[in-house]
């Protein structure tokens, strides 16, 4: 199998940085393997927002199988986190050695934006439909019209189909979106209904919430009734009552925080939909002669390595 490309590594790694090996013994980490190295982060190229201030700080990198480093070696490191302690400990998926004389590597965009864009790209790749439009109404889905317990005090048997009570109740709502343009997933259409959780419970608070007038790019996934239909309680309540909970047909949802993008992103998203494999690139500025180093190590199964540790 050929070694993974720069783009493949970039797709697998959450934290990518340009760094310099400080020590080939990571003394600060008592349970680190003997090949762990200490690396100074020179520039963060991709990472979550809370890690974008790591430039100038040391991290511990556990090399992938067969990967070797020497002191003062400079490279682009493709990593994921293993542990956050006194020091950040990362597992290397591979690295790209930088030639002597390279003065630096910079991301063309903010490191967190790069990661966010990658996440958007992954959502786009699995989306069943992507539309540009405006929310015109928010309403209760039919499955939520069944009453809660207590509202059926003088219950007739048919009333006993109801939602039971849990703090994780998603409080499903349907957003009606007037479609301006379909970027993915079929021909022109006037409207699409998106089911979303109105709940602020920990399970649901990150899912986008919709209000009439909201405009944007909506990245939609078809979801089964099991996930976005009546609440679990409704099903159980129906079972108790010997009735059958109303099971809706497949519905569209937008549950990931990146599933709704601002209207100004529509052009870029259109491009990403056209080229789903495109990845964010970095600009390498070199003082000396440009030389693209071959990726020296490849990523083995990350989980397998973690298991053997």
């Amino acid at each position: 199998m050929p070694p993974p490309t720069h783009e493949q590594l970039a797709q697998q790694a959450r934290f990518i940085f340009h760094g310099t090996v400080q020590s080939t013994r990571a003394n600060e980490l008592p349970d680190a393997p003997s090949n762990a190295v200490t690396v100074r982060v020179d520039e963060v190229l991709q990472g979550p927002e809370k890690l974008t201030t790591y430039a100038g700080h040391d991290v511990v990198v556990i090399p992938s199988k067969g990967e070797r480093f020497r002191v003062d070696q400079r490279a682009i490191f493709y990593t994921n986190a293993l542990a956050f302690g006194e020091t950040l400990t990362l597992e290397s998926l591979g690295h790209q050695a930088l030639p002597a004389g390279a003065v630096g590597v910079r991301s063309a965009t903010h490191p967190a934006s790069t990661l966010r864009k990658r996440d958007v790209q992954q959502r786009l790749a699995t989306a069943d439909m992507v539309v540009v439009g405006r929310v015109t109404a928010v309403q209760l889905p039919p499955s939520e019209l069944t009453p809660r317990a207590g509202a059926r005090a003088a219950a007739t048997p048919s009333d006993r189909q109801r939602r039971t009570i849990t703090e994780h109740d998603p409080q499903w709502r349907d957003a009606v979106i007037d479609v301006e343009r379909v970027a993915k997933g079929g021909g022109p259409r006037k409207q699409v209904v998106v089911r979303f959780p109105a709940s602020d419970d920990v399970r649901w608070f990150r899912a986008p919430k919709f209000s009439a007038g909201d405009q944007g790019v909506f990245i939609l996934h078809k979801t089964t009734a099991e996930k976005a239909g009546p609440t679990a309680g409704a099903r159980a309540g129906a079972r108790r009552a010997g009735t059958r909970a109303a099971v809706p047909a497949q519905v569209f949802t937008a549950l990931h925080p990146e599933d709704v993008q601002p209207p100004e992103m529509q052009e870029e998203i259109g491009t990403l939909v056209q080229k789903p494999s495109a990845s964010e690139r970095t600009t390498v500025a070199r003082a000396g002669s440009a030389r693209t180093s071959k990726l020296t190590r490849r990523r083995k199964s990350s989980r397998r390595r973690r298991s053997s540790r």
Binding site: T87, G150, R306
Partner: protein
């Protein structure tokens, strides 16, 4: 035991509690995550009984990297320092999580997995300090608030997971998922329905189902036996305690304790109490609280806490039984108005600790005050330690639960170990028992800083560990 020895032991305990013990409080966010500003609420804790230096904790802390696993906090030095490792098979965060240690350093976990609405996963790790993801032992849907307790008994781990199984058709949803050999491959779990009474118009029990396990095989569980649920979300309920004297191994598990009024299994420790579901106390949602703990030196002594409205105020009550749950102290040992998140633990010398979080004051000056009270004489007198006294209205909630639907506390030997969530502003006046921060901070200017030590970080809700060394 001779009467003089008992008196001497009690006297020794009183002296120790009077000395207030040593209280260690640690902000658990590690230094390498100094930029963190998440709402790390609803904490739980497990201490390895064979090596109390090894502690695992959880909270609603998302995976900082967003890699697809949820994190746990690990400490291998008795809670002085903590690291975060993402080994829980749930997408970045869980919907609920609690943990417990069995023998041999094995950790058991119960989560609501993400994605999934109410998808219960029972988990195990043979090395929770490593980086290998936890193993899924069992999963099923329509389950709420799994609450794990485990106990090594002989060569086997007994594992009990209290939960509210909403898939039950008869409305008696309070359930214990249990295994008599959790370390087996694969372990066998069985579901035990512990509600024997009609749940009336509620049609279900409350989500809080709490087991307490004793080394002699005795297991208690406490839950709200909901009896009605009104259109205004007012719940009426009994507080029910069940017991099994052989760990649930028999043909009729958790039926050892019957109520004298109806002869049914499950002692009604409190009857016809009420509260409002999904009400607010401070910024925190409320809808019932239950805690139970058994004396490790005497399985007949058990403490129980629950919440109920008293004169329209959400109030915690603590009572004690010395006859294995048959009868309960007629009056409260402790009564705490405007309080939530009770946790109880009893140490090897019979000292009981009661942890709770109370709203003090009114309006914008309200405070969340987290207190640990201990009694060495069965609840006659109490020694109090306030571990946090922080603003109740800042930071603004990111989601519910704000500080958690529960906290955690346990004991190993004579020491108490606990965890709570609170406003993380590094202000020493807010931590009367002292506090240690790992993340970058300045106690003088009361500010938090990112890993670069210059970028200021917003105040948020953090998990705090405490240990009381008797």
């Amino acid at each position: 035991m001779p009467r003089t020895s008992i008196r001497r032991r009690a006297s020794r305990r009183r002296r120790r509690v009077a000395a207030a013990g040593q209280v260690l409080v640690v902000n658990m966010i590690p230094k390498s995550l100094s930029g963190e500003a998440e709402q790390d609420s609803e904490p739980s804790i497990a201490v390895d009984p064979q090596n109390s230096q090894h502690i695992i904790a959880t909270a609603f802390t998302p995976d900082p990297m967003g890699t697809g696993f949820a994190p746990i906090f690990v400490s291998s030095n008795g809670g002085h320092t903590w690291a975060l490792r993402s080994t829980v098979p749930s997408q970045n965060i869980t919907g609920d999580i609690s943990v417990g240690f069995g023998g041999g350093g094995r950790l058991y976990g119960g989560i609501l997995k993400v994605p999934g609405g109410l998808l219960l996963n029972l988990l195990r790790s043979t090395n929770p300090f490593g980086t290998t993801p936890m193993t899924v032992l069992k999963n099923r849907s329509d389950v709420d608030q799994p609450f794990v307790r485990a106990q090594r008994l002989g060569t086997r781990d007994r594992v009990y997971v209290g939960n509210n199984d909403l898939a039950v058709a008869n409305g008696r949803t309070a359930t214990i998922d249990m295994s008599l050999n959790g370390a087996a491959t694969p372990p066998q779990f069985k579901k035990v329905r512990i509600e024997r009474r009609d749940t009336g118009s509620a049609g279900q029990n409350g989500p809080q189902v709490r087991p307490a396990v004793h080394p002699d095989g005795t297991v208690y569980a406490a839950f709200y036996g909901w009896r009605s649920f009104s259109a205004s979300q007012r719940v009426t309920s009994d507080v029910v305690v069940v017991r099994d004297d052989d760990g649930g191994a028999g043909a009729q598990p958790f039926t050892a304790l019957a109520d004298s009024t109806d002869g049914l299994p499950g002692r009604l420790a409190a009857k016809n109490i009420a509260f409002v579901w999904d009400a607010r106390l401070g910024n925190q949602r409320i809808g019932g609280d239950i805690a139970i703990a058994v004396d490790p030196a005497n399985s007949r002594t058990v403490y129980l806490a629950w919440a109920a409205l008293e004169a329209s105020v959400y109030t915690l009550h603590v009572r004690r039984s010395t006859d294995a749950g048959v009868s309960w102290s007629p009056n409260d040992l402790r009564t705490k108005a405007a309080a939530t998140n009770p946790a109880l633990a009893v140490n090897a010398e019979g000292v009981v600790a009661f942890l709770y979080q109370q709203v003090i004051g009114t309006g914008a000056s309200r405070r969340w005050v987290t207190t640990i009270e201990r009694s060495a004489n069965g609840g006659q007198t109490w020694q109090s330690n306030v571990v946090a006294n922080v603003p109740a209205t800042t930071p603004a909630p990111q989601f519910q639960p704000y500080i958690g639907d529960y906290v955690g506390m346990t004991s190993v030997g004579t020491d108490f170990y606990g965890i709570f969530s609170a406003n993380n502003s590094p202000d020493l006046t807010r931590f009367p028992s002292g506090v240690v921060y790992q993340r970058n901070h300045d106690f003088q200017t009361r500010r938090l800083f990112d890993v670069d030590a210059t970028t200021q970080v917003a105040v948020s809700i953090d998990p705090f560990f405490f240990r009381i060394t008797e």
